[in-house]
Symmetry: C2
Subunit: 194 residues, 2 copies
């Protein structure tokens, strides 16, 4: 097993635990046990728990951005159809339990955004990059006449992403996907409607 | 000092700490120190940390609902004006730092919603009651012809509340109030526009 494999295994195992329990509530020892590496090995890859947290955000972000780009930059559907398909895909993921635990970046923004500038900036950057995927899709939609010319893609994407994160958050309190269904309806029937 | 005063002091002191640090990351001892009560006194009022957490949610909820009702049920402005005034008031609160730390109910929903049915139901109920304040305001707005008759007050209020929570969450990553400004603009110019 290469060093890169070991590091990835630590990040993958830690991601599962932290997605359920939160960052502060997860100890290094729990991560070591789950990934079956000794403490020294952990500190070979990560300088501190903070450094590990920052790299974990990169890890989550990579996963989410790949998924967003795959779907939002596809060439087999119109920009708005791709956007709707992306949200319906995540709705399906939550419905079947595959995405239980909410959005890992949203969770960490809630938990760590206020705690240090390093975390705040890293999380802000991750959310900005997710937003940029939506901006590009809305720019295309505008150029193709699918949405009002008066809608600013940047502002609209910001609102859409934040509303989406808020709907995912609300699902933690309702225990069902209704908030995401209402989100999709309001975004496509009111916000993006021509 | 009456028993009720002591209990309220514990809740007030704990609220400040937990609003900043989160529930799981705050120990009972820290709450005891801040409220200057002995451990036995804490367990006189609260059966366990979970029981304390549930009562703390009631405490936060009471504070938020009083504020929402005061503003959304006022009689000196139209329903939509009251709604706008409420959101502008919270925007001002965040701008001047008075509301730093985000929405306490949103924070706890993110942190604890998945952790136990008791927490989930308590938080779900708190958010439902906040939503009901917005529903009543939108029903009045509809009856007075301020919004489209086709807008469902319940669904719209659900979307507004979730988008608002999402914008507050995003502020933790941007470090500024831009997400709330965009939220207000999109809600009033697109979602509620006739």
């Amino acid at each position: 097993m290469t060093k890169q494999d070991t590091k990835l295994r630590i990040l993958n195992e830690a991601a599962k635990i932290i997605h359920c329990k939160g960052f502060n509530n997860t100890g290094i020892q729990e991560i070591l046990n789950a990934s079956r590496v000794p403490k020294g090995s952990f500190y070979f890859y990560f300088k501190s728990k903070e450094d590990f947290g920052l790299q974990l955000i990169d890890h989550f972000q990579g996963f989410i951005l790949r998924r967003m780009k795959d779907q939002l930059e596809a060439s087999d559907a119109s920009p708005l159809e791709r956007l709707r398909r992306f949200f319906e895909g995540t709705l399906e993921g939550f419905r079947c339990g595959a995405l239980a635990g909410g959005c890992p970046i949203g969770n960490l923004a809630q938990e760590l955004g206020d705690s240090s500038d390093k975390f705040r900036m890293k999380l802000g950057n991750a959310l900005d990059q997710m937003e940029d995927c939506v901006v590009r899709c809305l720019e295309e939609a505008r150029d193709q006449g699918e949405i009002d010319q008066s809608l600013d893609p940047k502002e609209t994407a910001n609102f859409i992403l934040n509303s989406w994160e808020g709907s995912i958050l609300r699902m933690k309190a309702t225990g069902g996907v209704e908030p995401l269904i209402t989100f999709e309806k309001m975004i496509f029937d009111r916000v993006l409607a021509r």
